[in-house]
């Protein structure tokens, strides 16, 4: 009996059985927590005891919190400067898109920074920037007569960290464009060349349009990468000096889990703001992907 029910409905039940384990895990660990965080953001909670309902008080506090504005401002700087990874990655990809001997190895070595953990990247750049003996410090000192301790100077610290973050990000974008360049239709390039197109014109009118899928993915991963920045800030400066290099993701962690006190509700409110900012971009990406799916 059960056997015949299964036989009759196999085709409609099968997808749900295949989906079940992955979908349940994803819902429990990703989808539900998003809503729980929103819920927690209305409470005062230390993570252990009773929750106290606050309504919008956490959000009201955010509006008066200078540290929040510093983090928000730094997030914008991250986002804008991270976009430099696109032209930089494209430039390196074009530079490397040749077939001399050993090119494959060169390409992989150029890609190296992306494979390395951001913790290690952070340590490398801290060493590079280190006051008194760091290579960068000495370089500035020999140029201007006065060294700058990048990571201890609130005017430059965020830029110093972003440069460290751009290093692997450029490598990622580069590999996307290298793969894209590989698939640029050679006949179109040749035809354009016969028509006298070269250099910038060729790049802009013939090559870039064909690189559009690569550009889309590059934009997605760069935006997400910029807004997710946490590791580098935590490793290189721990948010300092005096909180000037905080970003929202780091500030949230600090409020909710560090020695500054277990303010889970307030942390959740910061996370909700970050989520809202990210949702603007996510909806854009999803909308475009959805359209492409329909068009298939």
């Amino acid at each position: 009996m059960a056997n015949t029910v299964w036989k009759a409905n196999q085709r409609s039940l099968a997808p749900w059985l295949f989906l079940a384990p992955g979908l349940i895990m994803f819902i429990v660990y990703v989808i539900i927590p998003i809503f729980q965080s929103m819920w927690i953001s209305f409470y005062d909670w230390d993570g252990l005891g009773e929750k106290t309902w606050l309504g919008l008080a956490n959000y009201a506090e955010l509006l008066d919190d200078d540290a929040f504005y510093t983090s928000l401002k730094n997030n914008v700087i991250w986002l804008v400067l991270y976009m430099l990874a696109l032209p930089a990655g494209l430039l390196i990809a074009i530079f490397l898109n040749q077939s001399i001997r050993g090119m494959r190895l060169y390409k992989s070595l150029f890609f190296f920074p992306f494979v390395i953990s951001q913790v290690v990247v952070g340590l490398m750049f801290s060493w590079f920037y280190a006051p008194d003996f760091g290579l960068f410090y000495n370089l500035i000192e020999s140029l201007t007569g006065q060294g700058i301790a990048i990571l201890a100077d609130d005017r430059f610290v965020t830029y110093g960290i972003i440069v460290a973050g751009l290093w692997p990000q450029i490598a990622y974008v580069m590999i996307l464009y290298l793969t894209g360049l590989n698939n640029v239709a050679p006949d179109q390039v040749e035809a354009a060349r016969l028509d006298g197109a070269k250099g910038w014109k060729m790049l802009w009118y013939v090559v870039l349009p064909q690189l559009r899928p690569a550009t889309f993915i590059a934009v997605v991963v760069t935006v997400i990468g910029a807004l997710r920045s946490f590791d580098l800030v935590s490793v290189m400066t721990d948010g300092g000096p005096y909180g000037s290099s905080r970003v929202l993701s780091f500030y949230m962690y600090e409020q909710a889990l560090s020695e500054y006190g277990y303010r889970m509700g307030y942390g959740a409110a910061i996370a909700v703001v970050l989520f809202a900012i990210m949702m603007i971009f996510i909806s854009g990406f999803i909308w475009k992907m959805w359209r492409d799916e329909r068009g298939r």
Binding site: P15, M25, V115, V119, V120, W127, L135, T179, N183, L274
Partner: protein, 281 residues
């Protein structure tokens, strides 16, 4: 070809290019080379102010010292304990979810697919408090199991996107033919589709290995003590203890970077196929 192949330029131009590429590479990898050199620099060099010059001797002892003086071997082991089950779990789950979403045209198909895709992009912080709480309640806080469970669930989002697109590109006639033969849905998955998914499985495995090995945020949120922390979190706390002992910090950094770098070199082609999400072929 864009740009114009270098073979078509003057011999001088070709020479210039062949010199420019390695020079650019050295400049590009300067931070890495600096740290690699420092990792074999004797401590006495640092004391004498020789930070960026050639080391006076090759001190492989630095690598021995990090193993004897710190729990770094344990950190490395913890990283493997988290990473390997995550790779297996996320790839196994997403083979099935990807199959379901690529093969069956049921009504909520697209909604579920885009839920996986969107979930994959959210900031970690919106998940942090509830996931930490859930892990605590399940008694998995501060253990590799708690960390691996979360990673499996989260990575399933990205892996599903990848697997679904990969299976969708397979010839559908194969499945139709098997159905006509009366092969059950499970057998179609196991005997028809799964063998064709090997390149996708390889690509995702190396990619997830690297992502999880390099994860730092969740390691700091879900683990606290040296006997459960993976290498990223461990290295960060060792950095706090080894103040100004840059030769040790560097050796630790190189060690931490080694497994993903090896993985990348061994499985390069698969790795890049994974990174481009299969969208840029």
């Amino acid at each position: 070809m864009f740009p114009r192949p270098i073979e078509q330029t003057s011999p001088l131009g070709q020479w210039a290019y062949k010199i420019a590429v390695p020079v650019a590479l050295v400049l590009w990898l300067l931070p890495l080379l600096g740290v690699a050199l420092t990792s074999v620099r004797p401590a006495s060099d640092l004391a004498q102010g020789n930070y960026f010059g050639m080391p006076s001797a090759i001190a492989l002892g630095n690598y021995v010292q990090i193993f004897t003086d710190s729990p770094i071997a344990g950190y490395m082991l913890n990283s493997f304990k988290v990473t390997v089950p995550t790779v297996i779990g996320a790839v196994a789950l997403s083979c099935m979810t990807g199959f379901a979403l690529a093969i069956y045209g049921f009504r909520s198909n697209m909604i579920i697919f885009f839920m996986f895709v969107a979930g994959n992009f959210v900031p970690f912080q919106i998940l942090m408090v509830p996931v930490r709480d859930l892990t605590l309640k399940m008694g998995m806080y501060n253990s590799w199991t708690g960390l691996a469970m979360f990673h499996i669930a989260f990575q399933t989002g990205f892996c599903t996107l990848f697997m679904r697109n990969f299976i969708k590109a397979l010839p559908h006639e194969l499945i139709e033919a098997a159905r006509v033969e009366g092969v059950s849905e499970w057998q179609i998955f196991w005997h028809v589709v799964l063998p064709l998914m090997r390149p996708a499985i390889a690509a995702l495995s190396v990619l997830i290995f690297t992502f999880i090995w390099n994860d730092y945020f969740w390691a700091t949120v879900l683990t606290t003590s040296a006997d459960s922390q993976p290498i990223t979190a461990g290295l960060s706390s060792l950095n706090g203890q080894w103040i100004a002992q840059w030769h040790l910090v560097s050796a630790g950094s190189i060690l931490a970077a080694l497994p993903p770098v090896l993985m990348f070199f061994l499985m390069q082609r698969h790795f890049i196929a994974g990174l481009t999400l299969g969208a840029v072929k």
